[in-house]
């Protein structure tokens, strides 16, 4: 069971949350190439180790936020607000 620190509610069990994929994806302009659009929609870094992710506290405050999590060890480094800059780690 992951214990996930929601920036609004504090530590809660993982089954209150929904994983929302890689964070800080930047939507390209609508007149971008098909390759750029595919990169935005489908292609992911999928790192082994530190990952920057979006999570949704669906069965809690209902807010989206960002989480820094290690995908190999499941250690959670920190969480931060959805509109905050990506931290330097």
């Amino acid at each position: 069971m992951l214990s996930i620190p929601c920036p609004h509610c504090g530590l809660r069990d993982e089954d209150e949350f929904v994983w929302g994929g890689e964070a800080h994806l930047v939507r390209p302009r609508l007149d971008c190439s098909a390759e750029e659009w595919a990169q935005y929609l489908f292609y992911r870094d999928n790192p082994k180790g530190i990952a920057f992710e979006r999570w949704h506290h669906r069965f809690g405050c209902g807010q989206w936020f960002n989480l820094v999590r290690n995908t190999a060890t499941h250690t959670i480094e920190m969480s931060y607000l959805i509109d905050a800059q990506r931290p330097d780690l």
Partner: protein
């Protein structure tokens, strides 16, 4: 190759089982191979076998970071089926099932392929309607399927909860009778043995650490056992595809997630088919040893941990006990997880990569085991000719740019 038969079994029994030769040669890497296959699981080994058998290419090495079949090939729930919705998937997966049907004889190795049928359960009127469409689509694609009413399901799996109070009432379903299970380790060992006997080198404990790429494609691969020169590389590294691709400077449309499985203690025969409930999001079969083999949905966040987490295990077990209340007193013997490549349209990524002579066999999601013979067959074709195989051409990487997705998410059984 030392042929296995009743006669050799008898002869070995007379000599105290001490005369069995190793099933495949253990070798150190040569300085150069025409083709390097990264990943010694089912797909990599099958590819090596079909390269040798169908294309006469034997200057091949399979590089495996651990031991043969120790990744997802040894972690799956051994189900083989081709009950897909779309024509592209049906054609490919049914080719794979057909190869499975002749595999024990072809490889002279008992892979224990048991076509015990795969039953999909309908628990509501909507399930019945959706499955009628699904089963009929399979027939249109030339794949066997038979619709079942409640009594039809009861005759195939009487241990299910047919009571009036059942949380998931059983209204019917459909069966693919050619579906079933196979011994997963045996599939890897059989392909390894056959490939090795035709001259393929199988190199275990050999982790790829980097690639040297020239204008014509790969020139060498750096490994934990030294530098190996080559002219072509095939990646068949389920679960680690993004990591190997990164070493090549590529990104893939893949997320790596954990898929759990578990087995109970062995009991006498109670279930002689594979039962899948999309609504309860679980599937169960019974191994020849008597263990109930249980699978379910993904742990829904990326992980390379290969262990899975408790909430998902609880959900899976709750689903199984809802369907089969009589299993509640069985003890769980083992639980584990594999890391699977999840693609947005739940179809594999297969064939040429943006780098010349580097080929991709990945993105099988939760269903790579059933695809091993077909995947090996088509991957060998792609590596030998440099062209997509007609069966796997629709699964090329460029479908994401073209928007030609094959969205099997709703048809592969469990909606993860």
């Amino acid at each position: 190759m030392y042929r296995y038969s009743a006669a050799t079994l008898l002869r070995q029994a007379m000599t105290d089982q001490k005369g069995w030769p190793a099933a495949w040669r253990s070798t150190s890497p040569k300085a150069r191979y025409s083709v390097l296959i990264v990943g010694g699981g089912g797909h990599g080994l099958a590819t090596a076998y079909y390269l040798a058998k169908n294309h006469g290419i034997t200057d091949v090495a399979v590089l495996e970071k651990g031991w043969i079949g120790g990744g997802n090939t040894g972690r799956n729930t051994t189900v083989v089926r081709s009950n897909y919705l779309f024509p592209e998937s049906a054609r490919f997966y049914d080719h794979s099932v057909k190869l499975y049907e002749g595999l024990s004889r072809e490889l002279n190795f008992n892979i224990m392929f048991s076509q015990r049928g795969m039953v999909t359960l309908a628990h509501s009127r909507h399930d019945l309607e959706a499955q009628r469409r699904w089963a009929n689509a399979m027939r249109l694609n030339g794949v066997d399927s038979e619709l079942l009413d409640r009594e039809g399901v009861r005759s195939l799996a009487p241990a299910l909860d047919f009571s009036e109070e059942a949380r998931f009432p059983i209204l019917g379903g459909f069966v693919q009778k050619r579906g079933g299970t196979a011994r997963h380790d045996a599939v890897a060992w059989a392909y390894a043995r056959a490939a090795s006997s035709m001259g393929v080198d199988i190199i275990e404990n050999c982790e790829v650490e980097g690639f040297e790429i020239g204008p014509e494609g790969p020139t060498a691969v750096q490994t934990s056992r030294g530098r190996i020169k080559t002219g072509a590389v095939g990646l068949a590294v389920a679960g680690n595809s993004s990591l190997l691709a990164k070493q090549l400077g590529l990104r893939l449309p893949i997320d790596s997630l954990s898929l759990q499985a578990m087995v109970t203690e062995p009991v006498k025969p109670v279930l002689d088919t594979v039962v899948l409930s999309p609504a309860a999001a679980v599937y169960v079969s019974q191994s020849d040893k008597g263990e109930l083999v249980i699978g379910g949905g993904l742990d829904l966040y990326t992980s390379y941990g290969q262990r899975g987490n408790l909430p998902t295990a609880q959900r899976i077990l709750a689903g199984v006990l809802t369907l089969f209340p009589s299993f509640s007193r069985l003890r769980l013997l083992r639980q584990w997880a594999g890391t699977v490549d999840v693609v947005k349209d739940s179809s594999p990524i297969f064939g040429r990569s943006p780098i010349p002579n580097v080929f991709l066999n990945c993105g099988w999601g939760t269903g790579g085991f059933k695809a091993i013979p077909g995947g090996g067959w088509c991957f060998a074709h792609t590596i030998a000719t440099g062209e997509h195989h007609p069966l796997t051409a629709p699964f090329a990487l460029d479908r994401f740019e073209k928007g030609a997705l094959i969205d099997e998410a709703a048809a592969s059984g469990i909606a993860h």
